[in-house]
Symmetry: C2
């Protein structure tokens, strides 16, 4: 990498960090907890969110900022639960920026919410490098992706507060080979404080513990 490229890279990151700080100030001023959800495409982020919103609606009011390259398929799935969702289309870009999230936070109706979840673009690599002003990152790993993913994509597992090991029903029925203990041990080796929940957004298995964590963090 040339010096010029490194310098410009730093400038872009630092403009992002300024907006991330502004987002964090806004969220703290309003007393709202915020999570940045990161995973590969198709790990089940939207399914987890839609089920969570429905199941905890009497305790926690959740709003969602949806990041996608194209389409508003995911925001529509969230709106079907009657939760507010702001769709951001990145138009090819591989991650959300704090600037985009800032605009969404001003539209979502923060005063009516307890918790904001930002569903990032499906990408296990790039979104990790861009702070959005969140209180914590949640990494979702579908068991169909394989138990070597914490070792192969360590950055997000090192930084996340929570790992949701999703589609655990596929392990239980013997449909995929996935060593749960190995994946959990690798994630803990990278990040001893990471909270891990084995869940299935499809069957509901394991979701209650994740809800308890979320309700606690939302101050409820």
């Amino acid at each position: 990498m040339t010096n010029k490229r490194v310098q410009l890279g730093r400038k872009i990151l630092s403009a992002n960090e300024e907006y991330a700080q502004e987002n964090q100030n806004l969220l703290r001023e309003k007393g709202k907890y915020c999570l940045n959800m990161i995973s590969s495409p198709g790990s089940g982020k939207t399914a987890i969110l839609a089920r969570t919103i429905s199941d905890v609606r009497d305790r926690v009011k959740i709003g969602v900022v949806e990041g996608d390259i194209q389409t508003d398929i995911d925001a529509e799935r969230i709106r079907a639960t009657n939760a507010p969702a702001i769709q951001i289309n990145t138009d090819g870009a591989c991650h959300l920026s704090a600037t985009q999230v800032n605009a969404a936070l001003h539209q979502i109706g923060l005063n009516e919410l307890d918790l904001v979840v930002i569903e990032n673009v499906g990408n296990l690599v790039c979104p990790t490098a861009f702070e959005l002003g969140e209180d914590g990152k949640v990494v979702v790993l579908s068991v169909a992706e394989g138990d070597d993913k914490p070792a192969k994509y360590p950055a997000i597992f090192s930084k996340a507060k929570v790992l949701l090991l999703n589609k655990i029903d596929l392990v239980n029925m013997g449909a995929v080979d996935f060593d749960v203990d190995k994946a959990m041990a690798d994630a803990k080796r990278l990040n001893k404080d990471i909270e891990i929940f084995c869940i299935s957004a499809k069957t509901g298995e394991g979701m209650a513990d994740w809800y308890d964590w979320l309700i606690r963090k939302a101050g409820k």
Copy 2:
């Protein structure tokens, strides 16, 4: 995006394109066919390659350039089939560059091979924008990722010569909900010439048609 950033982005792409051209010249001069395999993490690229190498070894000699952020887990899986594999660790970067591939092509022993497969970093977005000098791209989609992926990540489906719809055994056993016809129709809408093979690298289902395509392209 500032003008300066756009200009620098263009310069980086164009340096990549120069190396991509050099790679293409080298491959054509030696008469070797080359594929660039792109997918989300955990769609099964390495499993597909390992089974393909073993099953076609009497017809086609395959070498693999392995792109990963960290670890040489994938190269070791390929070497277990006795095929040559050159591991590139991108050290955090989200895609392979033509420069990295150029170095690997000079190490892999091209003269002994019929076909080179570049297994890109697991990322459905960024690798699509960087030509490596290949004859064609192969996109792999695991049915566990959901049938909305062609619509949500259109760039790679628009550019690929082949779509491998992997883990089709999970659809057959009813373990995941995935509308094969919808995914295929969406991919064809983006790219009418795309060749689609429904396969399972685990059970071997559908692999024979993919092998026929590969053997034809390798000029065998």
